[in-house]
């Protein structure tokens, strides 16, 4: 009978990604309700040492697949190995991150295992012995409570939403034989071009400073960059600002851009079109700065400032500089 909670940890360049610790902690909480074991799958090349780290966050057993064919990540290879480990160990619940890689992998694995998957969840709980996964739909205009009618019950967790708490367990390493038939892997990573800006991706940022039409032009964003620098945040943009060519597409927050949940979201000169509100309303604290007191963004804001953003933001940057010093 299916038993226990398994996670698929994610690493890049030999370091665990933060979502892996969020997964481990969440799995621990779920497993403790039924006295079950938490196991993890960790794949890559030269990564065995990372198992200890997973142990610190509540993982009892780590299945390590260490093989040059698993680095860099290619869907077909990883999906094959994950599906094999899952079949052999029969967990009741399987959790992945809703990162780019996790989304790509989780749906392929779910199809291989002929099971159901709840994507990008913001809450998971056990109810009547079954996993109930809560997830935003319509970019957060409503939520769905999803149950999976097969095993393992799969869910991917939205980064930045679940706390990562230390809770030391054995983190015992179980080496897995990774036999990958190279001929079966059709895709190949030709090049990895790293973003050298040093900025955290919007989906993983703890602070986002976003600008809209009210920034008046690409040069207006300079004051947002300064504020974001002080708060160690990332600058985002509304669709209006992206469509106007002021910011790159990867910076867009909203239903047709990135859906984000930082600790702090500062919306500057953004009126709050419903498609934008959908993409950021799960942020923990929302600030709106806009000179139009009637702007819909104020209906979502915890704190609102009705004033000229070009005057308020430099002042706010100065205030924050002192506060974080």
């Amino acid at each position: 009978m299916a038993k226990g909670v398994m996670i698929v940890a994610e690493q890049r360049d030999g370091a665990l990604r933060k979502i892996s610790l969020e997964l481990a902690s969440t799995a621990r909480k779920l497993a403790d309700q039924s006295g079950d074991e938490v196991s993890a799958i960790l794949l890559g090349s030269g990564i065995e040492g990372l198992a200890v780290e997973l142990g610190k966050y509540g993982v009892d057993k780590v299945f390590v697949g260490d093989n040059a064919a698993l680095e860099p990540y290619v869907t077909e290879a990883h999906a094959e190995v994950v599906a094999k480990i899952v079949k052999e160990n029969d967990p009741s619940i399987l959790l992945l991150g809703a990162s780019v890689q996790g989304k790509d992998l989780s749906s392929r694995v779910a199809a291989k295992l002929a099971t159901g998957l709840a994507t990008d969840c913001t809450d998971v709980k056990i109810d009547g012995g079954k996993l109930v996964a809560t997830r935003p739909m319509y970019a957060g205009k409503c939520y769905g409570e999803v149950v999976v009618a097969a095993n393992p019950q799969m869910a991917s967790l939205r980064p930045n939403v679940f706390p990562a708490a230390e809770n030391a367990k054995a983190g015992a390493v179980v080496k897995v034989d990774v036999a990958i038939d190279a001929a079966s892997i059709k895709s190949k990573v030709l090049e990895v071009q790293k973003d050298t800006s040093g900025k955290v991706d919007l989906t993983e940022a703890t602070v986002i400073v976003s600008g809209g039409r009210g920034m008046k032009g690409p040069e207006g964003f300079a004051i947002l960059d300064e504020l974001a620098d002080v708060l160690k945040g990332t600058v985002g943009a509304s669709r209006a600002a992206v469509d106007a060519g002021w910011k790159a597409q990867k910076d867009q927050v909203g239903q047709t851009g990135k859906v984000v949940s930082p600790n702090l979201y500062i919306a500057c000169g953004i009126s709050g079109a419903i498609q934008h509100l959908a993409g950021m309303s799960s942020s923990k604290c929302i600030v709106a700065i806009n000179k139009d007191a009637e702007a819909p963004i104020f209906t979502k804001a915890d704190y609102g400032v009705v004033d000229d953003l070009f005057k308020v933001i430099p002042e706010l940057t100065a205030v924050c500089k002192k506060l974080v010093a």
């Binding site: 790509d104 779910a110 199809a111 109930v132 973003d195 915890d302 704190y303």
Partner: protein
């Protein structure tokens, strides 16, 4: 590039025609207000304006560009109720050649697994080199169908693609991930999911709309596909988003005063900085 029965090897350069499938879904417009039914069984559909999923538009546009450059045929496939025919016609009006509409009440409440298997059952019967899907549909936001379809067909997948180059025997794509861009190559046939940035979708022209009315659309029910239609993942309950407590408007005479008060509240009350 696939073998063509029409030309011999010596003429291979001329047989770069490409068979493209574009999968589309009809979804509520991004400006739609979503109201949850009182019993939590779904959303109120009465007032909704239905459109082609924006990410699928990028897929259709890319399919048309590939066809225009290389020759070939674009088939649009959609799973959806009767109204989804409008979305198929929109794709045909943009320039796709023919459509398949998988339409059956048993697909109401279908999850990605069922939809992917339904699409696969149809696509198996059609010549296919490149299958394009939107990276996710903006209604359920699951983003699973592309990968599940690839698995059902036993094909490689390239998800979240912002640039696609077809070489005749392979595709090379750009995939942005957190903090990096990957350049990835795979062989045909393959499944590619479209991300914003891939292209700028065209509008249907008036002559295109007229022509679309005469293009063939094959309507299939579940029985014709011979697949299981039980959803593996079920939305047991649809709920409104958690309510946010009413916000505070920061008072003050000068911008500097407001900024100072905001900073203090973010630090002391919200503990956000």
């Amino acid at each position: 590039m696939r073998e063509s029965p029409r030309l011999c090897d010596a003429q291979e350069k001329e047989v770069l025609t490409v068979n493209i499938i574009a999968c589309v879904k009809q979804v509520p417009d991004t400006e739609a207000q979503i109201k949850v039914k009182a019993d939590g069984s779904g959303i109120e559909e009465g007032q909704i304006k239905w459109v082609m999923n924006p990410y699928d538009e990028y897929g259709v546009e890319e399919a048309l560009k590939l066809k225009e450059k290389n020759g070939g045929e674009v088939t649009v496939v959609s799973v959806g109720p009767a109204r989804a025919m409008e979305t198929i016609r929109t794709a045909l009006a943009m320039g796709a050649d023919k459509g398949v509409h998988i339409c059956d009440p048993v697909f109401d409440g279908a999850d990605a697994f069922v939809v992917a298997n339904a699409l696969a059952a149809v696509i198996k019967t059609l010549p296919h080199d490149i299958i394009l899907c939107g990276q996710r549909a903006i209604d359920d936001d699951a983003g699973q169908v592309g990968s599940m379809l690839a698995e059902a067909l036993g094909l490689p997948q390239l998800t979240l693609v912002t640039k696609l180059e077809y070489t005749g025997s392979t595709v090379k794509v750009i995939r942005p991930i957190e903090g990096a861009q990957l350049s990835v190559e795979t062989v045909l046939p393959c499944v590619v999911t479209a991300q914003k940035g891939l292209n700028e979708p065209r509008y249907a022209s008036l002559p295109g709309i007229m022509k679309a009315k005469k293009k063939p659309v094959d309507v299939k029910d579940a029985a014709a596909l011979g697949i299981a239609t039980d959803a593996k993942a079920k939305v047991a309950k649809t709920i409104p988003p958690p309510a946010r407590p009413p916000g505070k408007i920061i008072c003050g005479d000068e911008p500097a005063q407001k900024a100072a008060e905001l900073g203090r509240l973010l630090r002391e009350e919200a503990k956000a900085i």
